[in-house]
């Protein structure tokens, strides 16, 4: 496998707070990389820098061999890097189907003022996409009428509609009811694996990380404290104490 995304020496501080303090990370093609760490460790900042929302104060980001450091979000998206958001960013006055169709239109070209958004080909593609995410039953509903779990999936479906090679997801399961969580992640992983999308996701649920990530990177105070397979990293006593401690009982207790 080769690296699809390479971050080298990324630095960004907000006042005195270092959100990125020399981040070096390779994201390998087709892998699922989980990012974990306490709030304020700089996880979202990494996604924001990679997708062009924030410009790093130092370091470089290379995607597929081309440097994308500090480029505008829409330039980065056009190269094949999409993202979803911690708070779903849906077009609230549009239906779920129209949201998906708008994403398809963004990919195919939005500038025709004469053909309708819901033209047969795009409508079919949108419905197929929503079907893969299990969202077809709510295709006709306005986005602001959905529950949080469904909004999360719709938000990610819009990113997938762009047909990215790399998808960055910021807490795809936060705010989702525990009962729905595993089902949503399973659906998501199946769709992304089928589409051969490389995924980076920020996650707080260690069960999700353990089950679905190929590798996990532990963020701490703007640095990567540990990086490796979940079984190895999550078993590290320092990681358990400093990062997971309050979120997950010690391994022995969990299975007692």
């Amino acid at each position: 496998m080769r690296a699809l995304l390479e971050a080298r020496g990324l630095r960004l501080a907000f006042g005195g707070v270092k959100a990125a303090d020399g981040i070096d990370l390779d994201v390998m093609e087709h892998e699922f990389l989980a990012i974990i760490g306490p709030n304020g460790a700089g996880k979202t900042t990494f996604i924001n820098m990679t997708t062009g929302y924030l410009k790093p104060q130092g370091g470089t980001i290379t995607y597929s061999g081309a440097e994308i450091t500090g480029r505008r979000p829409r330039d980065i998206v056009r190269r094949g890097v999409a993202r979803s958001f911690q708070l779903p960013q849906l077009f609230s006055e549009h239906t779920v189907e129209e949201n998906a169709a708008l994403a398809i239109a963004s990919r195919e070209g939005i500038w025709s003022p004469f053909a309708p958004l819901l033209r047969p080909a795009w409508r079919q593609e949108a419905r197929e996409l929503l079907d893969r995410f299990g969202l077809l039953p709510v295709a006709g509903q306005r986005a602001d009428a959905l529950n949080e779990g469904t909004r999360k999936l719709a938000d990610i479906a819009m990113a997938v509609a762009l047909k990215p090679r790399l998808l960055l997801m910021d807490e795809p399961t936060s705010g989702v009811a525990a009962a729905e969580k595993m089902g949503i992640v399973e659906t998501l992983v199946r769709v992304l694996r089928d589409a051969r999308v490389t995924a980076v996701f920020v996650e707080h649920d260690m069960d999700v990380v353990e089950r679905f990530a190929d590798r996990v990177a532990v963020w701490s105070q703007g640095r990567i404290a540990a990086l490796g397979p979940p079984a190895q990293v999550l078993a590290d006593p320092a990681v358990q104490r400093d990062v997971i401690g309050i979120e997950r009982p010690a391994a022995g207790v969990a299975h007692a």
Binding site: R74, Q89, F91, E93, H94, L102, R107, W111, M158
Partner: protein, 314 residues
């Protein structure tokens, strides 16, 4: 029957009603031509409202279109050519100004447009040598396809041009709003950042609507100049821009018929209110707007379309 077909049918019925009204009461032709012209300008305002942006300065383009007619009419008296010239001039102006104002949103967008329209107003007022200041410029007799017309034929011709343009722009706006570009306008209002993260320049989406709105306002200005045959700087004054926003709220921004319903209602209420209570017509218009804001947020079109939907469900 589908919603677009119903709207088209209503538009054609409205056009027929206007023609009949103009035939039955000839002086109404003047009022209805102005209403159609203002409806076209408000249609452009409506496009911007879809993106959540209110322009308080679009009278600039109305005035630019009108003064283009007034300046060129002595050397090029053909009405159709003058209309094309006004459309081209305002499109270019809309593009140049739009490149600047489309960077801004909400109150800054509104006030920048207002400021630019007032700069233009001042230029029209101060450069007396060219514009004849507040006296304005009288538009000479125009021809149609090189043929001079008598007064009645001329009025009917301009009325017909306004009607055809209103229908044409109305159909175009309906198609445009259903297109990805039109839908992206609404997306600017609800989640602009997401558009950028989908690879779309929200600024360019707004710019395209802005240029279209300038074109529509320019055509409206040309029609107003051809109808009233006299242009003054007041066409660019901030109250004229406010009038367009007033009509947009009155008619409703939910559909392309709203601007024309609003413009017709506005002009007719103004004419009849001025005729019956000369000193209080502004008060009556204000009361009408208050009622719309309090009880019919979707404007006249909102009321009408909700009744139509109830009828279809029943």
């Amino acid at each position: 029957m589908t919603q677009p077909r119903i709207e088209l049918l209503l538009a054609l019925l409205g056009a027929a009603a206007m023609v009949l009204a103009a035939m039955a009461t000839p002086w109404l032709k003047f009022v209805l031509t102005l209403a159609l012209a203002k409806g076209i300008a408000v249609l452009g305002i409506m496009l911007l409202l879809r993106a959540g942006q209110v322009s308080f300065g679009h009278a600039l383009y109305v005035a630019l279109g009108a003064y283009t007619v007034a300046f060129l009419a002595p050397s090029m008296p053909d009405a159709a050519l003058l209309l094309v010239a006004a459309a081209l001039g305002t499109t270019v102006a809309g593009l140049l100004i739009g490149l600047f104002v489309s960077r801004y949103r909400e109150i800054f967008f509104g006030m920048l447009n207002l400021a630019l329209s007032m700069v233009f107003y001042s230029m029209l007022e101060k450069f007396y040598h060219y514009t004849r200041g507040t006296d304005g410029i009288r538009v000479p007799s125009l021809t149609v396809a090189g043929v001079p017309l008598d007064r009645v034929s001329y009025e009917w011709t301009i009325f017909g041009m306004a009607l055809v343009l209103a229908l044409g722009f109305g159909v175009f706006a309906r198609v445009y709003l259903a297109s990805p570009l039109g839908q992206a306008l609404s997306a600017i209002k609800t989640r602009e950042t997401r558009l950028d993260f989908m690879g779309v320049s929200s600024r360019n989406v707004l710019l395209s609507a802005y240029v279209l709105s300038a074109l529509m306002a320019g055509c409206a200005g040309a029609l107003i100049a051809m109808t009233s045959r006299h242009v003054t700087p007041l066409l660019a004054y901030w109250t004229a821009s406010g009038e367009l926003v007033f009509i947009a709220i009155l008619g409703g921004a939910g559909g392309v018929l709203g601007p024309f319903l609003g413009a017709a209602a506005y002009e007719l209420v103004r004419v009849y209110a001025a005729a019956t209570v000369a000193d209080m017509w502004q008060m009556i218009l204000g009361a009408v707007l208050l009622l719309v804001i309090l009880f019919a947020r979707g404007g006249i079109w909102g009321l009408l379309s909700s009744r139509l939907q109830r009828g279809r469900v029943a």
